[in-house]
């Protein structure tokens, strides 16, 4: 059988790498994803099918993948990371216990952007069982606050905020939502490499920016855990690695005109940490 998966990047790379064992692999993704991700998927020998759009159009890619799967159900097996509970289970049985042991049981909050929701749900559930007082916060782009505001727009944070609320995200676990902008995410990712020696991707900067927003009004919180999802080496062709002037120009295009006006209107009504 052929493994068929929809992914905006890292999942496609991991899927292609896992398939190296013995399977053919096809990845469906929005064409705007970074060139590095596509090259890595090719390097592991997988095929790529692209659909128009960017990160906020993962729902379109999912539709396309489902059409393909339906056309030849005997031929394809679909991991379906957005719906597959083994995704959550992986983090519940590995990442969660690892974090718990690494912090020797001393952890007060878990904060992470929602991609599939697998990490936040799996890690959050495990840690909450250990410490019922634990706070769990999801993070989403200010430009595309689907969970906190019901609004979906373009943003510049690859791998999260895919324009859908994934089935495996357990909303009942959440204590709240933090929003962070593409600009904040990029600036924080850059600071992390220059000040902490941590060269990571844009969604990692996004998570860190959100963790700091949470820490500011909640100084009583002892330890906050978040995740750095991937290396900055997958973002050379993105604003993360542009020079300052190019980055400023790219940021101008992220939120502008009508979208920005709409965001301003909605923001007044949300109970969010912004």
């Amino acid at each position: 059988m052929t493994i068929l998966e929809c992914s905006s990047g890292n999942a496609g790379i991991a899927c292609a790498a896992a398939a190296v064992k013995d399977y053919a692999c096809i990845i469906v993704m929005p064409e705007m994803m970074s060139a590095e991700r596509k090259l890595m998927i090719h390097a592991y020998g997988a095929e790529l099918v692209t659909i128009p759009g960017g990160e906020s159009d993962v729902d379109v890619a999912l539709k396309r993948m489902k059409e393909m799967a339906a056309s030849a159900p005997e031929r394809y097996w679909v991991p379906g990371e957005f719906e597959n509970l083994d995704n959550v289970d992986t983090h519940y049985t590995t990442s969660g216990p690892e974090v718990w042991e690494q912090l020797e049981g001393n952890v007060d909050a878990v904060i992470a952007a929602v991609g599939t929701g697998g990490w936040l749900t799996g890690v959050g559930r495990f840690l909450k069982e250990k410490n019922p007082a634990l706070k769990i916060y999801g993070v989403e782009p200010t430009e595309s606050p689907l969970i906190s505001g019901g609004l979906c727009c373009g943003h510049g944070i690859a791998g999260i905020g895919g324009g859908l609320i994934p089935n495996i995200l357990d909303l009942s676990l959440l204590d709240g939502i933090i929003t962070s902008s593409t600009e904040e995410a990029l600036r924080m990712a850059r600071r992390a490499s220059r000040e902490e020696g941590l060269f990571y991707g844009i969604s990692s900067g996004f998570n860190l920016a959100a963790a700091l927003k949470f820490a500011r009004p909640c100084p009583e919180t002892g330890r906050i855990v978040t995740i750095f999802g991937d290396s900055g080496q997958r973002y050379f062709s993105t604003p993360l690695c542009h020079d300052e002037a190019e980055m400023e120009a790219a940021l101008q295009n992220v939120v502008e005109g009508d979208r920005d006006a709409m965001l301003r209107k909605f923001r007044k009504t949300w109970d969010i940490i912004d």
Binding site: A17, V20, L39, M40, A43, Y44, S193, G197, Q233, C241
Partner: protein, 351 residues
Amino acid sequence: MTIQRRAWDSYRRYSGHIFDAIGGTPLVRLNKVSAGFEPDIFVKLEWYSPTGSLKDRIYQNMLTKAEERGDLKAGMTVLECSTGNAGIACSFVSVMLGHPCIVVMPEGMSDERKKLMRAYGADLVFTPGGESDVDLALEKLEEIRSADPDKYWVPSQFDNLDNNEAHYLTTGPEIWEQLGGKVDAVIASQGTGGWVSGVGKFIREQSPDVRLYAVEPEECPLLSERGWGPHGIEGIGDGFVPRALDLSLLNGIVTTTTDESLEMARRLAREEGIFCGISSGCNVAAAIKLARSHPELGGIVTNINDTGQRYFTTALCGEEKHVEIPERDHAVDAYSAAELDKYAPEWEIIT
């Protein structure tokens, strides 16, 4: 104070500093690309280190040693010549220790490497040519340094024996433990020579019969033929014998072509799930040549120097890059010639 090896179980508890994540990398046995050859081939995955290459180990050691000796003082700028991974690690270690950093490099190096150095806050200075023109970058570095010697400290990875020491103290012992003392040959391409000399020295002390081989590009066969020429394997084969390369340890030289190295790097991704750089493909291609020539060897160890993620704009990922190589004579320097006179006659050459 010498650098501490990362304890195998150190990730059991959170790390207080990113330096705690240097070293302690996995050693993996190859299964498919080595099929049909008697010896087992093991590769050390150095991209697990913070900046994604073997160089974190040596810059941590070189800079902390220099600070302890008083050679590198607060306020001084670290000035280094590098074709890539070393410059990235140098930028990273410098910024974490609070020193500004300038890296001099040939302009033909991959864009990803330049972007990584800038991400860690370093300034870059470019000289003409590609990998085979590192000597021009070294000249430029000397020009900058001599204009203001009190301002700069130069790690000089090609000459600095703290480079070898990092591998002698960490990489070598790690490999020895990971193979339970069963290692028959160590083979690696030579950039500075620090890895093959440091690891080689440690393993030879444990096991005097271990065979040690340096690998060089067939297009630039300095060690095997005293020849020179442009090649496409970033990070190795720089056209001279570095002081950090201890030729007295070697049993022989293996040469591989740029094409063989690229082909093996691509196969490693597709068949082993190891997406690595071109010099790592070179190492494995050479290890397989050694396995073919010496079926009696039990275990052969080589290095995966870095990830393929810094080669997106190179031939590895299908993008040919044209580099202007300056026309010039390239005589073998006196030190290199004298060293080769001493040791080369005894070497086994595998091509």
